[in-house]
Symmetry: C2
Subunit: 381 residues, 2 copies
């Protein structure tokens, strides 16, 4: 085992748990991740608009990098020659890389899936490429991430049962093939279970994957088209199928309430582009619900985005200024909005962790929803 | 007089001078500007992509704000209700606002100039507006900038002598009308001389303007189409026409070598969008000349942009990473490139100031040009 994972508290009213995940890092210095934790997404070697300094300032403990994007540009071999992804982007903390599986299905055109792997065309220039479980491992080895994800097949929902079943079988075979590819000594491996919203297939996938020597396990194939309640239910069903003493990661999730439900289900790690993507669209998350900063009502509002937030954006700028930057199409808007949204996400994670450690998570959850319901404005997703 | 301007050293081989310009600021705290100084341009309430913290970190002592842009969006009355431009954008240092004159001629369409003022259409939505010298003062009063520029008429070059002569007469009349509009107690006023490249008209304009009670004087109407050598020559000719004991400002200038020639001509203040605009296009200024960061030769270059620079960008990131960000179209590229280019501009200003104070400015100038000529690559402007 490359990682060390210790649980420090468990909630008595839900499956929530608080722990510490230790990773050795390439440097050997080691890093601790306080779980449950959210991972900001740094798609192409940067969390859009932000520096490592910004990310540290808001409490980021681990970043996610996208294998598919980095393979296409600047190329994993180049990243390796430049010292690995962390050194390349000047981020000294841990990095988790996804396998590229989700992206070759969702972003690229004309993908063809066969047992050997997936043929796809680049979303950048239409050029033809082929990803296999082995190549995904080799790319992630070159990127030198700290947590390497198995190459899985992730069908959109809804899909016919046969398609989900086939993806479960293939994901298992691909996981086994990936394990045969050696990684660097500091790199941990996580397996991914599939199975859509089918309990039998989820159980089968979890049984197969957890029999393999992975350092942690992810629940994949959710948040891909199904209603949020179904996703929550499947997270609650799937988490206990995974070993209690290994970190559990719910991929691509989600909205703040999805993080809360995920933590209640016993999940330790999350990632999602929502805080940064919505920031770019002017949607800001606050302790009182979402606001759209472009709204005219903010044009002379001298308050901070969220009075309960202590991020650089809330400490320094008014809603009126942030609205102006958004309306004027200024780059600074993206940066300041992204800082706030990520700070908000990381804050609710650390608040949840404290509440679990102090055995008041049920109360915290109730207060969270009560405050969200009394939100500043009702805005569509 | 609102300002206090002290000269601390004069170069014996040129008209260069080093001094300190003190401004009271609205807060009464006061601010010192070490001259010669370059002013980063914050067009619409932000230096594109940068925060006040970034600007302070690279040694910015005064910002320029654009009256035309801020009048259109978010509107000067709104800025005033929000506490003035400095408070609005969270910049605590001094701000100089231009008069909007240059922009209504260059940016807007269908402008019609008459004695009363200028009718123009907004570059944003085509709406019709009218700027007079009086309104320009009122707008700048609402913006609460620390240095207010007179509303002038700036013809492009080349223009017929009659057009330049007319602009000189009008600029004089408009300056006088502007002086009749009261400002806030902390606001200093600068007059602007015109006259194109005509020595007689420059002399006439300087004589007329310097008879008026301005705190400082700007040389306008240059860097608007004439060759750089002509611009330098006109700066050398015009600077001595302005009182020695007041700050001199060469508007809209320029390239690093133009700053050097301007300082040699006896100029104290400069502004230009070049460092930030070129940063967005991937052109970076260095002690060894310009480089285009998109150039393939940098794709695995692990050195900093400029080994002699100590800005955040050069301290933290490689050329390879900056090239990747530019090629991938990432927002962070704009930010990191802008930080470096502005840091470079501010560094050559402070280097020139030290060289003047230490009576070695002639040697410094020779070394500056020698290093620039032995540049890293030759790239077109």
């Amino acid at each position: 085992m490359v990682i060390d994972f210790q649980l420090h508290a468990e909630d008595s009213t839900s499956a929530a748990r608080a722990g510490v995940l230790r990773l050795p890092l390439k440097s050997g210095v080691g890093a601790e991740i306080q779980t449950p934790m959210f991972m900001p997404v740094g798609t192409v070697g940067t969390v859009k608009g932000l520096t490592p300094g910004d990310l540290r300032a808001i409490g980021t403990q681990i970043l996610l990098g996208n294998t598919y994007h980095l393979y296409l540009r600047p190329g994993h071999e180049r990243v390796e020659r430049l010292g690995g992804l962390g050194k390349f982007m000047a981020w000294e903390g841990p990095i988790l890389t996804d396998s590229g599986g989700f992206q070759v299905f969702s972003l690229s055109s004309l993908n063809r899936i066969e047992e050997k792997g997936v043929e796809f065309r680049s979303h950048l220039d239409g050029s033809k490429h082929f990803f296999s479980p082995e190549l995904s491992m080799q790319i992630q080895r070159s990127l030198e991430s700290d947590i390497v994800m198995a190459f899985d097949q992730c069908p959109a929902l809804p899909s016919p049962r046969e398609a989900i079943e086939k993806a479960v079988r293939r994901t298992q075979a691909w996981a086994e093939r990936g394990l045969a590819v050696p990684l660097k000594p500091h790199q941990a491996r996580f397996g991914i279970i599939q199975g859509g919203t089918d309990r039998e297939l989820r159980t089968q996938s979890a049984k197969g994957l957890t029999a393999l020597p992975f350092d942690g396990f992810a629940i994949g194939g959710l948040s891909v088209g199904e209603p949020p309640e179904v996703m929550h239910e499947m997270a609650r069903f799937s988490a206990p199928l995974l070993p209690k003493d290994r970190p559990r990661y719910l991929m691509g999730v989600g909205r703040p309430e999805d993080l809360v439900e995920g933590v209640r289900a016993g999940i330790d790690l999350f990632d999602c582009v929502m805080p940064t993507r919505n920031a770019r669209n002017g949607q800001l998350f606050t302790s009182r619900g979402k606001i759209n900063i472009k709204n005219q009502r903010y044009q002379e509002d001298q308050g901070p985005v969220d009075p309960e937030c202590s991020c650089e954006t809330c400490r320094t700028y008014t809603r009126a200024y942030l609205r102006h930057l958004f309306v004027a199409g200024e780059y600074l808007s993206i940066r300041l909005n992204s800082i706030h949204n990520l700070a908000y996400y990381l804050k609710i994670m650390s608040d949840m962790r404290m509440a679990i450690l102090e055995h008041r998570f049920d109360l915290w959850t109730k207060e969270f929803y009560a405050k969200q319901r009394g939100g500043l404005e009702t805005s569509p997703d």
